[in-house]
C-alpha cells in the first residue's frame, strides 16, 4: 500500500510534469530526491532547480 507521502509525491511529480516551466531532467532529479527515503534538504533542491536553468547556482 502506497503511503500518503508516496501518493502526494507521485501526484506532485505528475502535475509538475504538466508545467511548461519545468523540464524532464528536473522532474527526474526530484523523483530521485523524493524516492531517496531521506529527508529533503533545501540546499539539494536549490542545486536541482539551479541545474534546470543550466546555470551554476549553488
Amino acid at each position: 500500500m502506497a503511503t500518503l507521502q508516496q501518493q502526494i509525491a507521485e501526484k506532485f511529480l505528475g502535475k509538475l510534469a504538466e508545467s511548461e516551466d519545468v523540464d524532464d531532467a528536473t522532474i527526474k532529479q526530484l523523483r530521485i530526491l523524493l524516492a531517496d527515503g531521506k529527508k529533503l534538504k533545501a540546499d539539494d533542491l536549490v542545486k536541482v532547480f539551479g541545474q534546470s536553468a543550466g546555470g551554476d547556482l549553488k
Binding site: Q5, K15, L45, A53, G55
Partner: protein
C-alpha cells in the same frame, strides 16, 4: 500487518513473570486500578516497538525506558527484564519470535531473522500510535485547532510531508534572494556600460550608433546588428587592444564614483536604521536574543537531523520523530523571533544591494589605478571591494547581521580614509594628461565597451539562470502545496465520515443523525459536531464529558483506519473503553466487531463489569480474557480466572490456607454477583453510592434468576417446547435447593450471618461451602462457552441467553 499470538514478560514495569496466550484474537484484561494491566500494555508495546509511551512525551521528564522500564527491584539488574513475543505477520503469513531486553531496546532478537520479517517489524515499530491510553483520548477533541492539527498530523505521519513542503519553501526563498542579488549585479553592470557609452536607455540601436561612430574613425566596418556573438572591437589588432584606457570614459568613471561618494552616508540608511532598531531590541531583551540565536541554531540542527541522535549535542533520542518534534516545538515557541529574523534578513538584503552597487563603481577605477601605476590606490580599492563582498555575505544571515551593530550605526561602507584624497589625485592626474588622439580614443572606447558588454552579458546570463531557477522553485512549491491540500482535504473528508459513522454506531439510540465536520486550514484543524440537529458546535460546547471521550475513541479509530487501511490489524487500548458510558457499551463492542473484524484489540479496563460485558457481547470469550484481582510488589499481577478460580481455591485449601481460600471465594462472589446483577437485571435495594454489599447483591441475583427460570419454563410450556421447559425447570430447582442458595437466603433474613466468618472455618468445614457455591454458580453460566447468562433486551427482557447461543430461553409466552 501483525497479530499477537503470545507474550512472556519478565521483570518489566510491575510484572515479575507472566505468560499470556492471545491466539491472534481480540483480548480483554481487567482488574482494579494498580493491578498491573497497564504494565502488560507497556511490556507488549516495548516488545513490538522498543518504546514505552508512558515513559515518554509531555510530563515524563526524568523518566526513561532503560531506567524505569525494569521492575523496581531489578533496576540494578536490568538484564533480567525482557519480553518475548510470538507474533504473526499477516502479510507474510509467518510467525516470528521477538525477544527484546530493556538493556538493549533497539536490538531485538528476531527469529527467523529474514529480511522481509525485519522490514515489516521495523515499519511497525515506527508506529507508536498503536497504543492509545485514556489520558491521550482527549488530545484529539478538547484541544485548540492548531494543537489538534499537530496531534493528527503526527498520528498520520504527516511530518515528512510538512518537511518536504518546508524544504521546497526554503529553497524558493534562497533562490529569491539569489535572484535579487543577480538583479542588483545586472543593474550595476548596465550602469557601468551606459556610463561608458553615454547612452540612456540601453538599446541596441543607441549602442551600435555609439560604437559605429568610433569604428568609422578607425576605418572599421560598421556593425549592423547586435547579436549574442557580436564583438564591438572586432577588427582591432591585438596590439591595439593592449591600450590601457579611454581617457574620457575613465574620467566619467571617476566622476561617477566621486558623485556617488557624496551620497554614501545616505546609502541604505533607512534599512540600516531599521536593522539597528531590531538589534537594539535584541540587546534590551536577552530572552529574545537567545530565542533568535536558538532559532538559527535549531534550524541548522533540523537540517542535519538524520537519525535518532541529535546533530547538535549527540544526545540519543528514542527515535528521529521524537527529536524532530522536540526541535519543532522549540521553533514554534519563538514566533516573535521569527518576525525579527525576517525583518533583519529583508533589510540586510537591501543593504547588500547597495554594497554591490558601490563595488561595481570601484571595479573600473581599480583597473584604471592599476593601469596608471597607482599601485597603492589600486590596493586600497581592491581591499575595499573585498571587504564589501565579505559584508554582502554577512548580510545574508542573522548571525552575520548581529555582529554589524556598530558598523551600521555609522559609515557602514567603511570608506578608506585615504580614498577621497587618492580619488581626487588620480582624477587630477588623468585630467592633466593630453587628450587622446582621435584614433586612440576610438580604439580604447571600443575595447572598454566590449569588456563592459561582456560583463553585462554575464550578469544577464546569471540573472536569467537565477530567474529560471526561481520560476521552477515557485512552480514546485505551489504545485506541492496544491497537491498536499487536495490530498489532505480528501483524507480529512474520509476521516470525518468514518468518525461520524463510528460515533453514530455507539450512540445509535439517541444520536442516530450525528455528523461531524473537520475544517482544515493553514496549520490548524477545526472540529465541530452536530448536537441533536441543533447545529454544529465545538465538541465541548454541549456534549457530556463521556460523549467527548467517545468522540476521542471514534476519531482515533477513524485515523487508524486511514493510516493503516486494510493493515490495521493490531491496537492496544489501555483503559480507553472506560470512556464509553454504561449505556453504550454493547454498541461499542458491536462497533469493534462490525467495523474492525480483522483487528486484534488488546483492551484493558479497571471495570470488571465492562470486561464481562465484552464477553456477553461476543467481543471476547472466557479464553480470550483475563482478570487481575490484585497486585503486590513481590508477585506482580495476581490473575483471577473464572476457569481457574476453583483450582486456586482448591490449592489454597490443600495447603490448609483456609483464610486465603475464603478470601478468594469471597472476592469471586463479589465480582460475580455484581456482574450478574447487571446481566440479568436483579433489583437489590437501591443505594445512591452504588456500594452494594455481597449480602445485598447475591440474594437479589438468586431471586431474579429463579424468577427468570420460572418465566422461561412457563413460556416454553406455552409454546410446547418441552426441552426448554426442562432446562429452565432444572436450573430453578438447583437454585432453590443448593446449600449455597440456603446460605444466601440466610444472609437476606439474618444479617448476623456473614461470610467473614468463613476465615474462622476449618478446612473440612469450608470444603462443602466451596462445593456448594461452585454448584450454585453453574446455574448462572453456559456449560459450552462458560460465559455468564444475560437477558436481552436489557429493560424489558424477551430472552435469557449466553454468548454462544447454546442457551437461548424465550421469556415471552405465546399469546392466548
Amino acid at each position: 500487518m501483525i497479530k499477537l499470538e503470545s507474550a512472556h514478560i519478565e521483570e518489566v514495569r510491575g510484572i515479575r513473570k507472566l505468560d499470556l496466550i492471545f491466539n491472534k484474537e481480540k483480548f480483554a484484561i481487567s482488574g482494579p486500578n494498580g493491578s498491573g494491566k497497564s504494565g502488560v500494555i507497556d511490556a507488549i508495546e516495548f516488545g513490538l516497538t522498543g518504546h514505552i509511551g508512558r515513559l515518554t512525551g509531555k510530563g515524563t521528564k526524568g523518566l526513561s525506558v532503560s531506567e524505569h522500564g525494569p521492575h523496581v527491584d531489578k533496576t540494578k539488574f536490568p538484564d533480567a527484564a525482557f519480553v518475548i513475543l510470538r507474533v504473526f505477520l499477516t502479510g507474510l503469513g509467518k510467525s516470528v519470535t521477538i525477544t527484546r531486553k530493556l538493556t538493549s531496546p533497539n536490538k531485538p532478537k528476531i527469529e527467523p531473522a529474514d529480511e522481509d520479517v525485519k522490514a515489516v517489524l521495523a515499519e511497525f515499530a515506527d508506529h507508536p500510535e498503536i497504543t492509545l491510553s485514556r489520558r491521550e483520548i482527549l488530545r484529539f477533541i478538547l484541544v485548540e485547532p492548531t494543537t489538534r492539527s499537530e496531534e493528527i498530523q503526527t498520528i498520520l505521519k504527516l511530518d515528512e510531508i510538512g518537511q518536504t513542503r518546508s524544504a521546497l519553501n526554503t529553497a524558493q526563498n534562497k533562490l529569491q534572494s539569489a535572484h535579487k542579488t543577480t538583479t542588483a549585479q545586472v543593474d550595476a553592470a548596465r550602469s557601468s556600460l551606459q556610463l561608458h557609452l553615454q547612452i540612456a536607455p540601453l538599446r541596441a540601436e543607441e549602442l551600435l550608433e555609439a560604437v559605429n561612430k568610433r569604428r568609422t574613425v578607425l576605418d572599421l566596418s560598421a556593425i549592423a546588428e547586435l547579436t549574442a556573438d557580436t564583438k564591438l572591437d572586432t577588427g582591432l589588432l591585438s596590439t591595439v587592444k593592449a591600450f590601457d584606457f579611454n581617457k574620457e570614459s575613465a574620467l566619467r568613471d571617476l566622476k561617477a564614483l566621486a558623485g556617488a561618494r557624496e551620497g554614501f552616508p545616505d546609502f541604505a540608511r533607512t534599512e540600516a536604521t531599521a536593522v539597528i532598531a531590531d538589534l537594539a531590541r535584541l540587546e534590551a531583551d536577552p530572552a529574545l536574543l537567545r530565542a533568535l540565536q536558538r532559532r538559527s541554531f535549531i534550524e541548522k540542527g533540523l537540517d542535519f537531523v538524520d537519525g535518532p541522535e541529535c546533530p547538535l549535542c549527540d544526545t540519543p533520542w528514542q527515535n528521529e520523530q521524537h527529536l524532530r518534534d522536540h526541535l519543532k516545538m522549540k521553533l514554534a515557541k519563538s514566533e516573535e523571533a521569527k518576525q525579527l529574523q525576517q525583518s533583519l534578513l529583508s533589510n540586510g538584503l537591501a543593504i547588500a544591494e547597495q554594497a554591490i552597487r558601490v563595488a561595481s563603481l570601484l571595479t573600473p577605477v581599480q583597473k584604471l589605478a592599476d593601469a596608471r601605476g597607482e599601485i597603492l590606490f589600486a590596493q586600497v580599492l581592491a581591499a575595499w571591494k573585498a571587504e564589501l563582498e565579505a559584508l554582502e555575505t554577512k548580510l545574508a544571515t542573522v548571525d552575520g547581521i548581529t555582529g554589524l551593530t556598530d558598523r551600521l550605526k555609522g559609515d557602514w561602507l567603511e570608506m578608506p580614509k585615504a580614498f577621497p584624497q587618492q580619488l581626487k589625485a588620480l582624477t587630477s592626474k588623468l585630467e592633466a594628461l593630453p587628450d587622446q588622439a582621435a584614433t586612440l580614443d576610438a580604439q580604447t572606447f571600443l575595447t572598454t565597451a566590449q569588456l563592459r558588454l561582456v560583463d553585462y552579458r554575464e550578469a544577464m546570463r546569471k540573472n536569467e539562470a537565477a530567474n529560471i531557477a526561481l520560476t521552477v522553485a515557485k512552480a514546485a512549491h505551489e504545485t506541492y502545496c496544491a497537491v498536499l491540500e487536495g490530498e489532505l482535504n480528501t483524507l480529512y473528508e474520509e476521516v470525518q465520515q468514518d468518525f461520524s459513522t463510528f460515533y453514530r454506531a455507539i450512540n445509535e439510540e439517541d444520536e442516530s443523525t450525528f455528523t461531524a465536520k473537520l475544517t482544515p486550514s493553514e496549520g490548524s484543524l477545526g472540529l465541530e459536531v452536530n448536537f441533536y440537529e441543533r447545529g454544529l458546535f465545538p465538541p465541548a460546547a454541549y456534549h457530556s464529558e463521556g460523549h467527548q471521550d467517545g468522540m476521542g475513541v471514534c476519531l482515533y479509530l477513524a485515523l487508524m483506519k486511514r493510516l493503516f487501511g486494510g493493515q490495521f490489524t493490531f491496537a492496544l487500548l489501555d483503559d480507553v473503553v472506560m470512556s464509553v458510558d454504561a449505556g453504550h457499551r454493547y454498541q461499542f463492542c458491536k462497533l469493534l466487531k462490525t467495523y474492525f473484524p480483522d483487528t486484534q484489540f488488546i483492551i484493558t479496563t479497571h471495570d470488571r463489569l465492562w470486561a464481562e460485558q465484552m464477553k456477553s457481547a461476543g467481543l471476547v470469550t472466557a479464553k480470550t480474557s483475563i482478570a487481575f484481582h490484585s497486585w503486590t510488589i513481590d508477585t506482580g499481577p495476581l490473575v483471577e480466572s473464572n476457569l481457574e478460580i476453583w483450582d486456586e481455591i482448591g490449592a489454597a485449601l490443600g495447603k490448609g490456607k483456609v483464610e486465603a481460600a475464603a478470601a478468594a471465594l469471597r472476592h469471586h462472589l463479589e465480582y460475580v454477583s455484581r456482574h450478574l446483577a447487571d446481566q440479568i437485571g436483579a433489583s437489590p435495594q437501591f443505594r445512591a453510592d452504588g456500594n452494594y454489599e455481597l449480602g445485598e447483591l447475591l440474594p437479589s441475583v438468586l431471586k431474579r434468576m429463579k424468577e427468570l427460570c420460572g418465566k422461561a419454563a412457563d413460556a416454553a410450556q406455552s409454546w410446547g417446547k418441552d426441552a426448554d421447559k426442562d432446562t429452565a425447570g432444572k436450573r430453578k430447582t438447583v437454585l432453590s435447593t443448593s446449600n449455597a442458595a440456603m446460605s444466601v437466603e440466610q444472609w437476606a433474613v439474618n444479617k448476623a450471618v456473614h461470610y467473614n466468618e468463613w476465615a474462622n472455618f476449618g478446612k473440612k468445614d469450608f470444603e462443602p461451602v466451596v462445593a456448594a457455591f461452585k454448584e450454585l454458580l453453574r446455574c448462572f453460566s453456559c456449560e459450552t462457552c462458560e460465559s455468564w447468562l444475560y437477558v436481552t433486551p436489557h429493560g424489558n427482557p424477551e430472552s435469557l441467553r449466553c454468548a454462544c447461543n447454546a442457551i437461548n430461553l424465550n421469556l415471552k409466552q405465546k399469546p392466548k
